[in-house]
């Protein structure tokens, strides 16, 4: 070989090393917000993300449904896995992760609201029956509805209801209505008052009731290019009224609660509660027939171990292999059923259930632990009507409403009045919504002490106990000097 060849070789090699000098790379998995959200489908995907977060396991996927019962007197621990044991005895600082989860969802809705406001109407599809403006309004209403859902879950855990403060502690939560787009948006905010927070949610929901389409106007009418939008899996006008009814009830604004519940019931495709004969079966129906708003879950939404590790079915039953069966009904909950109540049939006590009353409200009917999570049911509207009317001394109206439930649960119509009627309605709520997370908050919103089951060995928790409010995440209090911790922590 002659020397020139080597010179060529080395030249080639040097050239390669010098020319390979492009150091710009592209992330193929992501877009800038402006690129991602310049069209209706993109913004809708952000709204869908907010729905998806809502059924994470530390939200409606599990903990929201079970904490409210574990904190009070509806459950007993079966398998000692460590889970819900602290909650059962109202331990300190057991429930902090709801904070970050809710605000992730809230930030999604804030992104959606901002980019919907900037979206040219020409970029919003229409359908034969829906105009672009209606579609845009509906998406906006959905974002407001979900934002309210998150704020309400935060408020009931971390704040006293307005008018029910202990020692005048009236802080609500941090209110954010714009997205975090740059670092300076993530400023260190203080908590608004509980009243401001409640008013914020009220305004959102009132606006949502005006923007959202009724259940009958979505479904097939929804623009095909935006995919599926079927009742009750996404927000509708009925759902917004129903959520507002719940919000007013929490706020003890009973007249408003009654009005909203009544409106909600006029807007749903079917108004009547499920009949007694089909009530137990309704819980093994993929879509609960009473749902006004229900979170849809598919097998693909979970990893291979999410079912046994975290599903409602695994935590509350041992129907499937690998279940945890942490919780069963407390003796007190079973005793709260009247003799002919069909809801009592939901509990099975055998050797296989380790001789504890096992609830079949969460039977994993979609297969492999999977099932949807009803968030608002029609029966709640009837019981809101009943309680609101009773607390306004409209016993007749209250009886009508509560009897709509009782007669569909194998019970006789009640003729009770006054306090006895109120007590009956509260017991109806307890029995009807067991393992749906209402029990603790039905005492808290009224400023009442929390009864505890005998098996827990824990005394009644006085309303004035600091544990009535949960601890804010400690790291957030350390990070944000403007964030005031709840008293006692």
């Amino acid at each position: 070989m002659n020397i020139k060849l080597y010179k060529i070789l080395i030249t080639v090699l040097l050239t390669i090393s010098f020319t390979a000098c492009d150091i710009d790379t592209v992330d193929k998995s992501a877009l800038s917000p402006a690129q991602a959200l310049d069209n209706a489908a993109g913004v809708q995907s952000v709204v869908l993300s907010a729905y998806r977060i809502a059924h994470e396991f530390n939200f409606y996927g599990q903990q929201v449904n079970l904490h409210g019962d574990a904190f009070a007197d509806n459950i007993e621990i079966v398998n000692r896995t460590g889970r819900y044991e602290q909650e059962w005895v109202n331990g300190i600082g057991v429930y902090a992760n709801r904070w970050a989860t809710a605000y992730r969802g809230i930030n999604d809705t804030n992104y959606a609201l901002k980019f919907l406001a900037e979206l040219p109407i020409a970029k919003v599809p229409s359908s034969g029956t829906l105009s672009s403006q209606q579609v845009l309004n509906h998406l906006r209403g959905e974002a407001l509805f979900i934002r309210s859902l998150y704020y309400m879950e935060l408020l009931r855990v971390y704040s006293y209801e307005p008018g029910k403060e202990v020692n005048g502690f009236n802080l609500g939560v941090i209110l954010r209505d714009t997205p975090t787009e740059v670092v300076s948006d993530a400023d260190k905010r203080a908590r608004s008052t509980n009243l401001e927070s409640y008013q914020f949610v009220e305004a959102d929901l009132l606006e949502a009731t005006n923007l959202l389409l009724p259940a009958s106007a979505i479904g097939a009418a929804w623009p095909a290019s935006l995919g599926t939008n079927t009742f009750p899996f996404r927000a509708t006008r009925a759902a917004a009224h129903a959520l507002l009814a719940r919000h007013y009830l929490n706020w003890s604004r009973f007249a408003d609660a009654d009005t909203q519940a009544t409106t909600a019931l006029t807007l749903v495709p079917t108004a009547a509660p499920v009949a007694a004969a089909s009530w137990v079966a309704s819980w093994s129906t993929a879509t609960h027939p009473e749902s006004i708003f229900e979170l849809e879950i598919r097998a693909t939404d979970w990893s291979g171990v999410d079912g046994p590790n975290n599903s409602m079915n695994s935590i509350t039953t041992n129907m499937l292999g690998g279940s945890q069966y942490v919780l069963a009904a407390s003796a007190e909950l079973i005793a709260a059923h009247e003799a002919s109540d069909v809801r009592r049939n939901l509990y099975i006590t055998t050797a296989a259930t380790l001789n504890k009353p096992q609830s079949r409200k969460w039977p994993g009917e979609k297969g492999a632990f999977v099932e949807n999570i009803p968030v608002i049911r029609r029966s709640e509207m009837y019981l809101i009507q009943a309680e609101s009317r009773a607390r306004q001394n409209n016993d007749a109206g209250a009886q009508t409403a509560v009897n709509a439930i009782r007669t569909n649960r194998g019970l006789t119509a009640t003729a009770l009045t006054g306090t006895a009627l109120i007590d009956l309605i509260m017991n109806e709520r307890r029995v009807e919504f067991a393992l749906e997370g209402f029990r603790f908050y039905d005492f808290k919103r009224l400023g009442l002490d929390i009864p505890k089951p005998a098996a827990s060995g824990v005394a009644t928790l006085p309303y004035t106990d600091f544990r009535m409010l949960q601890q804010l995440p400690n790291d957030q209090v350390l990070l944000n000097s403007n964030l005031e911790q709840n008293p006692g922590y």
Partner: protein
């Protein structure tokens, strides 16, 4: 090689000229190495006071004509002590040359070149490959453990072929990687691409037996030439090359066993049932329930099953190597192949590897050198679930599984677990069945290969080009058959990934000596590096039969996933070194680097180092001090960088969350993937060091002492944001971490008498790690980072023992009062996971062909929080089997013990006995340890015996690894304690390292 060539030419001339002289007789002989008796080729043999001389041939033989008067022969060879021998009347003069322990002319590999050790100004720890030879390790990082000062190596897992953590001079980064840059024959190794089915090692494709030397560049002076990638240290691995001479063949084979040791001692069936009965009774629960669930302790023939024994095993391991090397004037080569396998100490866990290597160098003429280092490896890892509180991981469940439940049905199949109340414990997972039936397979073919070319433009000036690649193409399979109840129907997932990292560079080297006083050398170059990794994951559930194992047989579709990441860097660099009279030495390095990981305004950074050395022993006034052979003081200062963060952190991104979060109601979801910060740039580390190198008493004692102080600034920090913003953190450049301490290396020939020799090498490093500042002048971030503390610590309550009155566990609150529970303010920093000292001690004894190597490795000053105790040290309050130590539980008022009252649920009157979120110091213990890491006894057969068989070397050996450990740690293995950093738990269900015993043979021909 060139030198030998010149000498040969010279000796031929000598032969020619000597013929002309009147010569009277001939002397001949063989020159051998005193170390191993092998013949030394190329030794210069000179008749003292004359020009008469010769050179030994490849066997070490020489022949020389002498005057009748005889005289004195001088034998000299690089690396050996020159020897003078009076010939007298002898016709045969055989000589053994002793190696020169001074090693002053030793050459070490440095960034883009080599340097003589004596003129080094920076801090480089060097390990010769012979330490790694035939040791049953799978990767080079395990081989350097305890061998080098300033380099802390700890196992991430005892999985055969598993990963290790290597930390050079402390831990400087909090959120960026702390891994050093590994460079194998110039190829910058990628950090990714390993199987996820079991711990596996990025260096696993390199056969340690192929390694010639390992050099660790520890300070800025030595590493700044790698600029932006050097902050965590740079480790250069050089593989063996062929040498000129007869083609040599070496065969190694060894075989042995691997054994678990120091496992937890668990309760038997009767003990377990009894403590369960007591916990139920104490909690006011019906004992009948306990009997039904856990067994009745009063039953005389209550079953008892030893799950630990079911799950652990003695494994086998073997290594087979073949190396062939040789060369001539122009071409040299080394060809090697190996096969290695090792079974784990846990059932269904093993690792296999085959490697092949060809290193070849060709010199067509004096000016040009071209070479290639080609390697291929195939690794197959059968992994275990470890390092976490996983109920389907054997290192959790083997200990927690109830002894009153059998793994098997009476028919011999796998039983539902636990047999008395299926599903009531460990999610109903029968760990024996799970581990036996689940397939966790990672298969990775990998090549680390490079090509180089060098051209000497003029004497002293060389232009070089280099291109190298580290590429792997792995597949993982995870098969969970439907026969395991919790995976009803069966679940199979597969991942296919490709990981490619390549780098190219061009360098210009210059060396020039001006007279005898000034020497200048320099280096300039350009480098480009690109890393790209991508892959596809897919899974399907529900199979008609566990034997049908292709994804396409599954009935239930699962979300598929694809990932892709890439990054690129480029840099220009230069170095200038000046030495005056070999006495005053100064070195300056500069590098400018750019990275795709940063925004357009902050892509580039400049890094530098300056260093000086003063070799005092070269001064004339030192001539009288004969016991001092060498004394050098040196100091260095520089700035190096780190950019090992995620690839695209600088821009704000909206994307699909993917996988299980990819949709709602059949529609796709989109959310903020990260908040970007286009101002982020390099993390900088300011490194300052000063040291002394010395050699005493005829270089029988050598060593160095060095102080270093590394200040990492502008940390690539995940600056926490209030989570109510919907975003947890943003990447920023903020905060500072300091690491400082001493590196001490010492070597001594303790005894060198006759054929007996005792060598000691020892090293000790100290480390103080401190968080200096946090973003926005915060003093702390939650309970995980506190200014003034190390960057990793255990934040715990102070355990106060068990109340003798009622058996409840207590802590001290902030005021020092006894309390049954605590809140955040009662917890504090109680210890750090970061060792404050570490090192090793090697003794080598040799007598004729016998050699005994005894090596200890140690580290200490760290506290480990043993998460296993949450499960196992719980007074029988849960369904988990318990340590036998729990028999010491509190039972009656007045009992003094550290084990709380047995109480079903572990929550007495609302007080969790393990203190919930924070935990207490009860589960923390001193994880300092000293381990007898390696003992090797070998015997090399005498050369006169084996030469008859035409062999050059036969060595038989036996060796053991991890033979003995001294520690106070209360877990299984103090070497594997820092896997779960960030979770506050040092160790949870970890895969401990195993004891190994091997026997083997090396044959050379």
């Amino acid at each position: 090689m060139k030198k030998i060539l010149l000498v040969k030419i010279f000796s031929m001339l000598m032969l020619v000229t000597s013929v002309a002289w009147a010569q009277d007789r001939t002397v001949s002989g063989r020159v051998t190495s005193a170390d191993d008796g092998s013949g030394l080729p190329g030794v210069n043999v000179l008749l003292k006071g004359t020009d008469t001389g010769s050179i030994t041939d490849v066997e070490g033989n020489y022949r020389l004509s002498l005057p009748t008067t005889g005289g004195t022969l001088v034998f000299s060879f690089v690396g050996f002590v020159t020897q003078e021998v009076a010939v007298g009347s002898r016709a045969v003069v055989d000589v053994q040359l002793a190696s020169d322990v001074k090693q002053l002319s030793e050459v070490v590999v440095t960034g883009y070149g080599v340097q003589e050790k004596r003129t080094l100004t920076g801090s480089i720890s060097s390990l010769k490959g012979d330490v790694l030879q035939n040791v049953p390790i799978q990767s080079v990082d395990r081989g350097i453990q305890g061998r080098l000062a300033g380099v802390q190596v700890s196992s991430q897992s005892g999985q055969p072929g598993g990963a290790l953590n290597v930390r050079v001079r402390g831990i400087g980064s909090i959120n960026a990687s702390n891994d050093p840059l590994w460079i194998v024959d110039g190829v910058q190794m990628g950090r990714f691409g390993q199987s996820t089915q079991g711990s596996s090692n990025p260096l696993g494709s390199i056969n340690p037996n192929d390694i010639e030397s390992v050099e660790v560049l520890k300070d800025a002076a030595s590493s700044a030439i790698y600029g932006a990638q050097a902050a965590n240290g740079v480790i250069l691995v050089t593989t063996k090359k062929g040498k000129k001479g007869k083609t040599k063949l070496e065969i190694n084979a060894q075989y042995g066993t691997t054994q678990p040791f120091n496992l937890y001692e668990m309760m038997n069936g009767q003990q377990f049932a009894a403590i369960k009965e007591e916990s139920y009774r104490n909690a006011g629960l019906p004992v009948a329930t306990s009997y039904a669930t856990f067994g009745d302790p009063n039953e005389s023939n209550l079953e008892s099953h030893d799950w630990v024994n079911e799950m652990f095993q003695n494994g086998q391991l073997g290594t087979y190597d073949l190396t062939m090397s040789g060369g001539d004037e122009k071409t040299s080569f080394l060809l090697s192949a190996s096969y290695q396998f090792q079974e784990g100490q846990i059932i269904a866990s093993d690792w296999k590897r085959g490697t092949a290597r060809l290193n070849i160098t060709h010199k067509p003429n004096e000016k040009l050198t071209i070479g290639a280092n080609l390697s291929l490896a195939y690794q197959r890892t059968f992994g275990s679930i470890a390092n976490g509180n996983f109920v389907n991981g054997p290192f959790q469940a083997a200990f927690t599984a109830q002894p009153t439940s059998s793994p098997y049905t009476p028919e011999g199949g796998f039983a539902l677990y636990p047999t008395r109340a299926p599903g009531s414990h460990l999610f109903g997972y029968n760990i024996k069945q799970g581990v036996e039936e689940e397939l966790r397979l990672g298969r990775t073919p990998q090549t680390v290969s490079s090509f180089n070319i060098a051209y000497e433009i003029m004497p002293g000036l060389t232009l070089s080009g280099f291109a190298g690649v580290d590429a792997s193409f792995g597949t993982d399979r995870n098969e969970r058959p439907g026969s395991i109840p919790v995976f009803a129907g069966g679940q199979i997932s597969a991942t296919s990934r490709r990981t490619i990292s390549y780098n190219t560079n061009a360098t210009l080297n210059y060396t020039k000596k001006f007279g005898e006083i000034h020497q200048i050398s320099g280096l300039a170059g350009f480098e480009y590096r690109k890393e790209e990794r991508g892959g596809i994951t897919a899974s399907q559930f529900t199979y008609p039969n566990p034997a049908l194992r292709l994804l396409s047989s599954g009935a239930t579709a699962r979300p598929a996933g694809e990932f892709f990441f890439d990054n690129a860097r480029q840099g220009v660099f230069g170095q200038v070194k000046y030495a005056m009279k070999d006495r005053y030495i100064a070195d300056f390095t500069l590098r400018r680097d750019g990275s795709s990981r940063f925004g357009s305004n902050s892509k580039y950074g400049t890094f530098y180092a300056g260093s000086v050395a003063y070799r005092i022993t070269e001064e004339s006034f030192m001539d009288g001090i004969t016991w001092l052979d060498d004394l050098k003081i040196r100091a260095a200062y520089g700035k190096v960088g780190n950019s090992d963060i995620a690839d695209y952190d600088w821009f704000t991104a909206f994307g699909s969350p993917g996988g299980n979060n990819a949709g709602y109601l059949g529609g796709s979801t989109l959310r903020l993937a990260r908040l970007g910060n286009d101002l982020i740039s390099w993390e900088n580390e300011i490194q300052t060091s000063a040291g002394i190198d010395f050699a005493l008493f005829g270089s029988r004692v050598t060593g160095s002492v060095e102080y270093y102080d590394n200040l990492t600034q502008q940390l690539l920090f995940d600056v926490p944001l209030p989570t109510d913003s919907g975003v947890g953190s943003v990447r920023g450049n903020s905060g500072e971490v300091r690491n400082n301490g001493f590196d001490i290396e010492l070597g001594a020939v303790v005894i060198d008498r006759g054929s007996f020799k005792w060598n000691v090498t020892a090293n000790l490093s100290t480390l103080k790690n401190e968080l200096v500042s946090l973003p926005n002048n915060q003093q702390r971030i939650g309970n995980t980072l506190i200014v003034g503390e190390p960057i990793s610590f255990n934040y715990l309550f102070q355990f106060a023992g068990i109340n003798p009155a009622n058996g409840k566990a207590m802590i001290y609150d902030t005021l020092g009062n006894l309390s049954y529970s605590g809140v955040a303010r009662d917890a504090a920093v109680r210890g750090s996971n970061i060792p404050t000292y570490f090192g090793g001690l090697a003794n080598n004894f040799s007598y004729k062909g016998l050699n005994l190597e005894v090596f200890f490795q140690y580290q200490g000053g760290n506290q480990a929080f043993n998460g296993d105790l949450y499960n196992l040290y719980a007074s029988g309050s849960s369904a988990n089997n318990q340590l036998v130590s729990q028999l010491e539980r509190w039972q009656n008022p007045g009992d003094i013990t550290n084990v709380a009252r047995s109480f079903q649920g572990g929550v007495i009157d609302g007080f969790a006995q393990n203190f919930g979120t924070f935990g207490s110091t009860q589960f923390q213990s001193d994880a300092s340890y000293m381990r007898l890491k390696q003992v090797t006894l070998s015997y090399s057969l005498p050369s006169n015996l084996i030469s008859k068989m035409n062999l050059t070397n036969v060595r038989v050996f036996i060796q053991g690894l991890n033979l003995w450990t001294f520690t106070k740690f209360d877990g299984i293995d103090p070497e594997v304690v820092s896997n779960n950093s960030g979770t506050g738990v040092s160790t949870f269900g970890v895969y401990p390292v195993a004891k190994q015993f091997m026997g083997g043979i090396t044959i050379g021909l």
